[in-house]
């Protein structure tokens, strides 16, 4: 049996990991400001360094800027593209790009880009102001009898005063511990500024920064680049940072999507956001309502959450609605509102697997002695901890709740084995494994039926110190398929609890590696022990939807 000390260490590891993951979600969700109103954004194509000593080549900077631009210029924004000539003025005005304060840039922006943005807003404001026309406006005297759009000065001023400028910056760049090594981590962010035209002279003021980091963890796991290809490596790093900045931007209250529910029918809701705002299938939204307390103050109360199953094409038809299924909560009503909760398509899963392992009697001979012997046939359950990553393929395949999975497993099982002609015994065997596959969930309320298939390998490892010498007996890695079927319960918008029955189809193996002092030795046997990982097992797991990429 696994020793109590090991058990405690494993438990501490998983609890710490769970807490770390949950801490990622421990951000106050954005306060809903009511219906989301379109903003316009302008991009300053200059990378600002907040500290000296950051070394990136021109190509790397150009790629990073482009990646950030693509991710931040989301459908929910109208873009005010600035002419190159104007953008070139900005770095010239910033006499030094390093060590300067981001809050001091607003004065430079005022001098260089403010006028141009005002000009662009002025050209587009009448068209963009149509967005603010309400149902009542369209049915008012002006809208019906006068057959006029009825755009008011207030609508135009809203357009002129809802323009934002974002400037990307880099805080630090971590490289591997060798000279001339390429970056492996980037810490950076976006500084947001707002244009105001309320006074005679327009002015740009600093609002806030959002920060994020980019790393190569995911890219490494999913082998998205070749370690020898440094360009591809940096691009993965830049893309990771850019994606995380996008998620951080979506969580800013002014930029977060929110709207009232237009229709509710049992477990389905409809609301008036769609392709125009960049809503996607499987996006999750909190459902909230306004509540009055005993002091007469109004505050928001979270009632549950929904998941988008069909996105409305409100580009072609402004009245088109997005359809979402209720996952958590009940008795939703028209007039409640939904608020975006931006999550990556990644889930990280902590599992406890129970895997049946059959060991058949056999031995390995070395130096004319039975070096390793399994005295009797035995089937035992291996308790294996797993860490898996699921990636939702909804954007690629347009199939809801369809995942590609990757899992690494490590655990132990109880066995009886004799070493050195029965002079020593051992009763623990280690199990390691790695799998990849696909998984599909079918939701009904908070419950989902989960099924999946994986392909991967396992091996059994027995290690023991005999007379101060390390002995390692490892079975050949056997590959096979694992079929999963189970249920999952949504505990919250980020956390699910699940249990799966698993059936493994693996070829048994009698092939072993014997290592003494880490040197492989040739063994011989008429009847080596046979290991078979096939059979019916189960697991329980906690999965966390991640708010950013790694």
């Amino acid at each position: 049996m696994v020793g109590p000390g090991v058990k405690r260490k494993v438990a501490i590891f998983f609890v710490s990991l769970s807490l770390s993951i949950m801490a990622l979600h421990n951000q106050s969700f954005p306060q809903v400001q009511g219906k989301y109103e379109r903003k316009s954004i302008s991009y300053i194509n200059t990378l600002f360094f907040t500290h000296s000593g950051i070394r990136l080549s021109r190509q790397q900077q150009a790629y990073l800027l482009d990646a950030i631009k693509k991710r931040i210029e989301m459908e929910r924004f109208d873009c005010n593209p600035l002419p190159d000539k104007v953008i070139r003025e900005f770095p010239k005005e910033c006499k030094t790009r390093t060590g300067a304060s981001l809050t001091e840039l607003d004065e430079i922006l005022n001098r260089t880009v403010a006028k141009e943005i005002v000009h662009i807003l002025d050209i587009n404001k009448e068209m963009r102001a149509k967005e603010f026309l309400t149902e009542a406006d369209r049915n008012s005297f002006v809208g019906t009898k006068a057959k006029d759009l009825g755009i008011t000065a207030e609508d135009l001023e809203k357009i002129m005063n809802s323009a934002y400028i974002f400037v990307p910056f880099l805080d630090s760049c971590v490289t591997a511990k060798k000279r001339g090594a390429d970056p492996i981590k980037l810490y950076g962010g976006i500084a947001w500024y707002r244009l105001s035209t309320q006074r005679e002279e327009s002015s740009i003021t600093f609002i806030d920064t959002v920060k994020a980091q980019g790393s190569l963890v995911m890219a490494s796991i999913f082998r998205l680049y070749s370690p020898s290809d440094k360009t591809a490596q940096f691009r993965q790093l830049a893309d990771c940072l850019a994606k995380n900045l996008q998620f951080a931007t979506r969580r800013i209250s002014e930029f977060s999507l929110a709207v009232t529910l237009r229709r509710v029918d049992g477990g389905t809701v409809w609301f008036g956001l769609g392709e125009k705002e960049g809503v996607n299938k499987d996006d999750k939204y909190y459902v909230m309502e306004l509540v009055e307390d005993t002091s007469g103050n109004i505050h928001e109360k979270r009632l549950g959450f929904v998941r988008v199953i069909k996105v409305g094409d409100n580009q072609a038809n402004p009245k088109a609605m997005t359809k979402a299924k209720v996952v958590h909560g009940s008795q939703f009503e028209k007039g409640m509102f939904v608020s975006e909760h931006a999550l990556t398509p990644l889930e990280i899963c902590l599992k406890v697997n129970v895997i049946p392992v059959a060991l058949k009697q056999g031995w390995l001979d070395y130096n004319s002695i039975k070096y390793f012997e399994v005295p009797t046939d035995r089937t035992a359950d291996a308790y294996v901890g797993g860490l898996s990553i699921h990636y939702n393929l909804v954007k690629a395949l347009n199939l809801s709740q369809t995942y590609v999975t990757f899992e690494i497993q490590m655990g132990a099982m109880r066995l009886k084995a004799n070493l050195w002609d029965q002079q020593y015994q051992t009763d623990i065997g280690g199990i390691i494994g790695m799998h990849g596959g696909v998984m599909k969930k079918f939701y009904c309320g908070p419950l989902a039926i989960v099924n999946g298939v994986k392909f991967g390998g396992h091996s059994l490892l027995v290690t023991e110190k005999v007379e101060e010498i390390n002995h390692k007996f490892e079975s050949r890695v056997v590959t096979g398929f694992t079929f999963d079927l189970g249920v999952e319960l949504a505990l919250s918008i980020n956390v699910n609890l699940g249990g799966l029955a698993t059936y493994r189809l693996f070829d048994p193996t009698s092939s072993w590696t014997l290592k003494i002092k880490d040197k492989e030795k040739a063994w011989y046997s008429d009847k080596p022990p046979e290991v078979d990982f096939s059979g019916l097992g189960y697991n329980i797991y906690l999965s966390f939807s991640l708010p950013r990429f790694f």
Binding site: K125, A136, N139, T152, E292
Partner: protein, 419 residues
């Protein structure tokens, strides 16, 4: 035996209990919330209103919001349908039936799909705010048919069929008709006011046409050799019983390169011959990117509905208090101080006797200026009143006679002469 009695008692109790009349408490149809705001006067017949409703669930809250919107038109704001105490008392008798779901739905010509606001209250009830377009005219027709409100034509008839003319306010010697010809915005404003008046079946005079008709009459008379009647010509200058005058300003400014405009209007209605102000109201449009005509109509609609409502309110008062007439008497030459005193005091007594109320404006040496309120059942017109007045004079002041210089609508210009 005893058990038979017990059974009999038990059966009797059950039967009596079943026969008892069950008191069914009926829920009131009156609105709970009463919160409503006027958004705009959509047309001469309809109002756009936001109203809140409170209910145990969504359906109940929306129904309450509809009731609040209808209630606002009836009794909320500054110019509502139920203007007098008598009307409100009459309405109380039918209010439950009036606010029934099926009935109020008839008056709502449009209802917003979205909720402006939805709040869960501490009591657990729901408060919902929505927009409605309420047909005020249809409501008025129903109240008229149920005898709660008088019809405007009937009201007008009982007050002597006043005619209304719409003219822009002028400064100095400017001719309003010339202004209408030259300024299209002023013409547009007049059209909007006239559309409200005609929709409500008021009698309206077209100023340009009236001038033409007056000229035609004068020309015809002169061709026929009819002696010119100067007082008549002077009286013609008055035009109509009621004037509605208006001022119009359009403000411009720029938001970026787009010019936005806002119309500001003032509408005033008054009786021409008594100078009595019947109603005055200001109206504003939103600041819009649109043509002048649209904001003018928006601003005028904002004002004129209230003004017409106040005219109606005054007419209802007149029915109760009496029609107001202005009497200016000139004491002729050759009266001694004693005689003047006698004539003045007797005139006051006679007028008190013939009217509901009397107001002495000026009692000068030779000119007496009065306002009287006359029961319309006793004297529908100024001329009728004059005949009654002259009759009393001949009975009480035999040595003096009352002569009419000019009777023009509600103005009586009279002269007292010695016989």
């Amino acid at each position: 035996m005893k058990s038979k009695y017990a059974l009999f008692l038990l059966l009797g109790t059950v039967l009596l209990g079943g026969c008892q009349k069950r008191v069914i408490t009926q829920r009131s149809n009156l609105p709970t919330s009463h919160e409503a705001t006027l958004l705009e006067v959509y047309s001469s017949a309809e109002l756009m209103i936001t109203a809140s409703g409170i209910g145990v669930d969504e359906e109940a809250a929306v129904l309450d919001a509809r009731r609040s919107a209808v209630h606002f038109v009836l009794a909320g704001g500054t110019d509502h349908l139920l203007q007098t105490l008598k009307e409100r008392e009459k309405f109380k008798l039918i209010e439950q039936e009036f606010f029934e779901r099926k009935n109020i739905t008839r008056f709502i010509s449009w209802e917003g799909e979205e909720y402006l606001r939805r709040i869960r209250l501490t009591t657990g009830k729901l408060k919902i705010e929505k927009e409605f377009r309420v047909n005020k005219e249809l409501m008025k027709q129903q109240l008229i048919s149920q005898g709660i409100l008088p019809t405007e034509p009937a009201l007008a008839e009982s007050l002597g069929l006043p005619f209304i003319m719409v003219l822009p306010k002028t400064m100095g010697d400017e001719s309003p008709i010339e202004l209408l010809k030259q300024d299209r915005n002023l013409e547009k404003a007049a059209q909007v006011i006239e559309s409200f008046l005609t929709a409500r079946r008021y009698d309206v005079l077209v100023p340009e046409q009236k001038v033409k008709m007056d000229d035609m009459v004068a020309l015809t008379q002169s061709l026929k050799g009819v002696k010119q009647d100067d007082p008549y010509l002077i009286a013609l200058l008055v035009g109509s019983d009621i004037y509605i005058t208006y001022t119009l300003d359009i403000e411009h400014r720029y938001v970026g390169s787009s010019e936005v405009k806002k119309a500001l209007v003032g509408v005033r209605a008054f009786e021409t011959t008594t100078s009595r102000l019947l109603g005055t109201e200001t109206g504003y449009s939103s600041e819009r990117l649109t043509s002048d005509a649209v904001i003018i109509e928006e601003a005028i609609s904002d004002a004129v509905d209230n003004v017409l409502s106040r005219i109606t309110a005054y007419w209802k008062d007149d029915l109760a208090r009496g029609i107001q007439l202005k009497i200016i008497m000139n004491i002729g030459r050759g009266f001694s101080e004693q005689e003047r005193y006698l004539v003045t005091s007797q005139t006051v007594e006679i007028l008190k006797g013939l009217s509901n109320r009397l107001k002495e404006n000026i009692l000068g040496e030779r000119t007496l200026d009065f306002l009287v309120w006359v029961d319309p059942n006793e004297a529908m017109s100024a001329s009728e009143f004059f005949r009654s007045l002259r009759r009393e004079y001949s009975l009480r002041l035999r040595t003096y006679k009352l002569k009419d210089l000019l009777i023009n609508r509600k103005l009586l210009l009279l002269e007292i002469e010695k016989i």
